[in-house]
Every structure is written in C-alpha cells, then in structure tokens.
C-alpha cells in the first residue's frame, strides 16, 4: 500500500520484525511456564510437568495435580488471553482515535460493565434473575451485557447519516463514564458492608475465579478480536493520516470504524466479565511497543498482544506470591509496577515527542 512508505521505522536494524515477535513469544512462553511452576503450594518442577503431561516428569500427588490443572493452568490461560486482548484492543483504540490517551475503556465499555457488575453484586443475593441460570454466571453475564449496552449507546449517538464522528464518540464515552460512575456511587451508597467490600475488590480485578468452563466460553470471545484486529493493521496505518486521506487510499473508513469498535468492545467486555477491571495494560502496553518499534500497526498489534500477555502473566505471579496465602488484586500490581516504569520510559524519550 502506498501509505506505507510514509512510516519511518525507528527500530534498530539488528532485530527484524519477525525476530522481535519471536523473542516476545519465547519470553511469554517462559513466563507461562514459570507461572505454572510457582505458587503458595510448593510443587517441584518435575511434578508440574507430570501434572500437565501424564507419563513425563515425576508423578504428582493428587492434590498437586489438582493445583496445577484446576487452579494454576486456567488462570494462566486467562492471564495470557486477557493480557493479549486488552493490550491489542488498546493499540487499535489509540489508532482509531489517533489519540495516545485512548484506552480501551474510552467508549464507555468498562464503566458500563462496571455498573452492571456492581448492580449484580449489590442485588445478586436478593434476586434470582432466572431459575435456569446458575448464580455464578449472573455477574459475568451482567458485566458483558452492561459493557455492550454502554458501547452501543455511544456508537448509536455518535453516528448520523452513516457517518460516525470519532470526536463526538470520545466525548459521549466520557459522559457515559460519568453517568455509570454516578450509578456505581448510588449502588455503593445502598450496598451493605459485604457487598461494598466485594465490589471494591472487583474493581481491582482478579484472575482467581476462572475455571476451565469459563475459559471455554471466553476463548472464542477473546480469540476473535485477537485474530481479526491485526488484519486491519494496514487500514489503521492509513487512518493515521486522517479519515479523508485513508478514504483516498481505498479504505472504507466507516466500515473500518464499526468493525474496530465491535472487536475492541468484544475484547474488553469479555475481559472485564471474567476478571473485573484490570487497568494499565490496555493504555500503556501499546505505548511501550510504539516507543520501541514505532507506530506501524502491522507490528504494533501483534507485539502489543504478546507483551500484554507477558506482563499480565508476570503480574499474576506477583499477585499469588507477594502476600501468600492471601491473593493481592492483580489490578493493583499492574498499575503499581507499570506506572513508574512508564514514567521512566517517557522521561527517557521526552525529546522524541514525535513518537507519541
């Protein structure tokens, strides 16, 4: 595509694009193996292998096998999926809005989901919504639906005559965030002590609730955006030039906007439904990659996904080990470690403002 020549590549020539992705993938794999091997229950590496592949390694005790298979493995799978989905959705969102402050929650999806989740926590014990629906699915389903409802409202209100105004969408997202915030405030006001603490912890996210059933439901919801977003990398590159310019380069800009929003909302709503609010990953991981390799979405999207998966897996190790046997909410760790790291990176690259 013609627009491609416009993008400079600040990446050192020593590492090619493919090499960068392979390095990130290997690091992520190593982090996942480390995460499987460590935890409050001491299990030697041979038994971890034995629990995963029968016949290999050392035969584990029954409870050791259960710990690896039922507790560690699903949460690591979830950390990989959610870390990748949130970071890539953030990268796509920043490209779509052409705004470095864009975060995947910007179109109201996180706050809409949070409002629905808080409502489910506060009223969850007093009302049985449907007889056929097990209580444990009420919270994730409500969260998923709330995220979509908020996002669709923003999308509808910012579109007229087949044209979606991105600037209006941003402001509407802020307004929806404020309304949802008021709703959460009201629900906290009427919540009892137990609901209040539950919702406080939900706001900081946790990967501890997921079992294999949830992973089975979540995998297609998170894989779909993970596979389809990188296919729009060329179009996102063109969009960096401006909507009209992208149109001249042959991109169907309106269709692109709708597809991107759909995929981003799917990724974020599914993530929030399964693990609560995990901040920082969606906003900062794409920046880290951009500072490192530049704004070309063909590399930015997959690299963000890999770094997001890597960081969330490492954060989860910290969440399980730092205060064991208590679990530290993962959102606290991602923000605490990521924030200062990001500030350091910004200060080092202050002069190179063009990257942002």
């Amino acid at each position: 595509m013609l627009g491609m020549t416009l993008f400079c590549n600040p990446m050192p020539s020593l590492v090619s694009r493919a090499q960068l992705l392979i390095i990130l993938a290997l690091l992520t794999l190593a982090a996942a193996l480390l995460a499987l091997s460590v935890g409050p229950v001491p299990i030697i590496f041979g038994k971890v292998i034995g629990s995963l592949i029968p016949g290999l390694g050392t035969p584990p005790e029954a409870f050791e096998a259960a710990t690896v298979q039922q507790i560690r493995a699903p949460r690591i799978a979830l950390a990989l999926l959610i870390g990748a989905a949130l970071a890539q959705a953030g990268a796509a969102m920043q490209g779509l809005f052409r705004n470095p402050l864009a975060d995947p929650g910007l179109v109201g999806v996180s706050s809409g989901a949070a409002f629905a989740a808080v409502a489910a926590i506060v009223f969850g014990n007093s009302i049985q919504v449907f007889d056929w629906l097990p209580a444990r699915y009420v919270l994730p389903l409500a969260t998923f639906a709330g995220g979509w409802l908020a996002a669709i409202t923003v999308l509808r209100l910012s579109s007229s005559e087949g044209y979606t105004r991105i600037g209006v969408m941003l402001l509407l997202g802020l307004a929806i965030n404020a309304i949802a915030g008021a709703g959460i405030g009201f629900l906290s006001h009427i919540a009892d002590d137990i609901a209040l603490r539950s919702l406080t912890f939900w706001m900081f996210g946790s990967l501890g609730k997921a079992g294999w059933n949830e992973i089975l439901i979540a995998t297609p919801l998170l894989l779909l955006p993970l596979i389809l977003l990188p296919r729009r990398a060329q179009a996102l590159n063109a969009l960096l030039l401006g909507e009209a310019e992208a149109g001249h380069l042959g991109v169907n800009v309106e269709k692109l906007k709708r597809e991107l929003i759909f995929l981003i909302v799917l990724a974020v709503a599914a993530s929030v439904a399964l693990a609560g609010i995990i901040g920082f990953v969606g906003l900062v991981v794409p920046h880290l990659i951009r500072l490192w390799v530049g704004p070309d979405h063909r590399l930015l999207l997959p690299a963000s996904a890999l770094l997001g998966a890597l960081l969330l897996t490492l954060a989860d190790i910290g969440s399980r080990l730092l205060l064991a046997p208590t679990e530290l909410p993962i959102g606290i760790l991602t923000a605490l470690v990521g924030g200062p790291f990001f500030i350091g990176l910004l200060l080092r690259n202050k002069t190179n403002a063009g990257v942002l």
């Binding site: 409050p40 229950v41 259960a66 137990i194 539950s198 501890g208 609730k209 079992g211 208590t326």
Partner: protein, 277 residues
C-alpha cells in the same frame, strides 16, 4: 468387647487431631476454639481476631476474596466457613483438590447463632462440647437482670465517613444484641445498615450510642462521635452516653454472645442501676 470400645475411645481423638482446619468467619473460628479444637485450626480469614491464638495463624485473606491456592498451601483437610465465604469458584477448586469444604448459614439472630455453633461443634466432632456451650450461653442470658420500665433507645453506629453515620437497623447482629440486652433499637424502622442524615438522627433521638472499638479511631475518637452533627443534639449526645465495645463481642454472634449481651446491658442500664442503689 470392652477392650475394643476402649481402643476406639483412644483412637477417636487422634483421628480428629489429624484434621487441619481452615476457618472462615469470626463466629466459626471462635466456636472451634470454644469447643476445644483450636489446635486443629491452621489458618483463618482476616475477620477472625479472637482468641489471641487465632491471630497468630496464617491469614488466607478477607473471606469474600479468598484464593484457592493460598488455602491449599496450608495443607488443610477441611475448610469450615459461613455461606458468606467466597468467591464460590475459589472454594469449588479447593473442594476439587480433595479438601472437604463445609459452608454454614451466617447467623442473623440468637436462634441461628446457636444453631450455627451446634453445627460447627458437630462438624468438629465435639457435639457434647457444643451442647455445653449453648447451655452456658442460655444460662448467661437467663441470669441477666433487665430493669422494668421503658427500654432505653440504643443506636449502633459503624462509621461516619462523608458526614452521615452508618447505623444498624433491624435484621442485623446489632439489633439482636440490643434486644437481648433489654434495649430498643433506635434504628429499628429500617433494615440493614443505613447512613442516617442529621435530621433522621435528631428525630429518632437515641439515648445511647454504641460504637464497635475498631470503628472508633476512624470516627475520630469519643469526643468527635458525641459532637457529630445530629448526634450532639440527641439525648445520647447531650449526656455523653457513648458505649464503646469490642467489635466481635458486639457484632460477632459467636460463643461469647452471652458476655457481649451482659456488657451491653450493663452499659445501657447504668443510670437505672445507679438510681436503684
């Protein structure tokens, strides 16, 4: 045959002693210690702050945000908690790792509190000690001398953030305790815990304010509570009638329920007793 029975008697306690219990909820922990199986408890939640021995045990976190592997790392044989313990997904994983998980209904009043203690004693293999504990509590409650006449209007406050104190209404542990102590819950017209405005406080005009000790520093100490807008104008505020009680004794509905009621009753009947002497 007698020999066999003797062997059984000798074996039975060691079978129970092999249990490693993780206890979730202050009333569960207190009851386990009260029926004599405290040495089997290997981990507790953050709300279990009595007895002192329980405070020295590893804490597995707040009982609504438990981590499965954290509990398993204590190598328990069983987990006993209330239905408030969760998330259910984490406890389900603990169960799948081969640990017996028993969740009992959270106590709301005297009847359910006693029923819970009986069940915990049964789960711990000490039904006899459980019955003794309940008999002791009933005796303590019977011994109480509650003066006749209009009961004192008592309001239990939990916190005062944002200016509106959070008060205990009906259907709370505080309500049960006030009634058993021979008082009238000034917050009885609403259910659960509700923030009260200055005007509502003045209207319900409590004669005694009761605050659990963990909340007092957050509320700024005795003087600050009595000077809170709305409270200063009530009979309790004007006469400086603020009762500070151990949080678990006041709200725990555990095996020390009898002592808690006696302490509260003594505090809210101090005036009558003084005049009767």
């Amino acid at each position: 045959m007698r020999k066999f029975a003797l062997v059984l008697l000798l074996v039975a306690p060691t079978v129970f002693a092999a249990e490693r219990i993780v206890s979730l909820g202050s009333c569960v922990t207190e009851t386990l210690y009260a029926v004599g199986v405290g040495e089997q408890v290997v981990g507790v939640d953050t709300s279990s702050r009595w007895p002192a021995a329980a405070q020295k045990l590893p804490q597995v976190g707040y009982h609504r945000t438990l981590g499965a592997e954290g509990i398993l790392s204590l190598n328990p044989t069983r987990v006993i908690g209330t239905t408030q313990a969760g998330p259910p997904e984490a406890l389900e994983k603990v169960r799948r790792a081969g640990v017996s998980v028993t969740l009992l209904d959270e106590p709301k009043n005297l009847v359910s509190a006693l029923a819970l203690m009986e069940k915990i004693a049964l789960e711990a293999g000490r039904p006899e000690q459980g019955r003794e504990l309940i008999a002791r509590i009933n005796a303590q409650l019977k011994q109480l001398k509650i003066p006749t006449g209009t009961p004192a209007k008592v309001l239990v406050l939990l916190s005062a953030h944002g200016g509106s104190p959070l008060a205990a209404g009906s259907d709370t542990a505080a309500d049960t305790m006030i009634q058993l102590a021979g008082g009238l819950n000034a917050g009885g017209e609403f259910t659960g815990f509700k923030p009260l405005s200055v005007e509502s406080l003045m209207r319900i005009a409590p004669e005694f304010i009761v605050v659990p000790d963990h909340a007092l520093p957050m509320m700024g100490g005795r003087e600050a509570v009595l000077k809170l807008p709305g409270i200063a104008e009530t009979p309790a505020g004007k006469n400086g009638r603020l009762v500070v009680m151990d949080s678990l004794l006041l709200l725990g509905l555990g095996p020390r329920l009898g002592e808690g009621v006696a302490q509260l009753s003594a505090a809210i009947h101090a005036k009558e007793m003084a005049s009767a002497e």
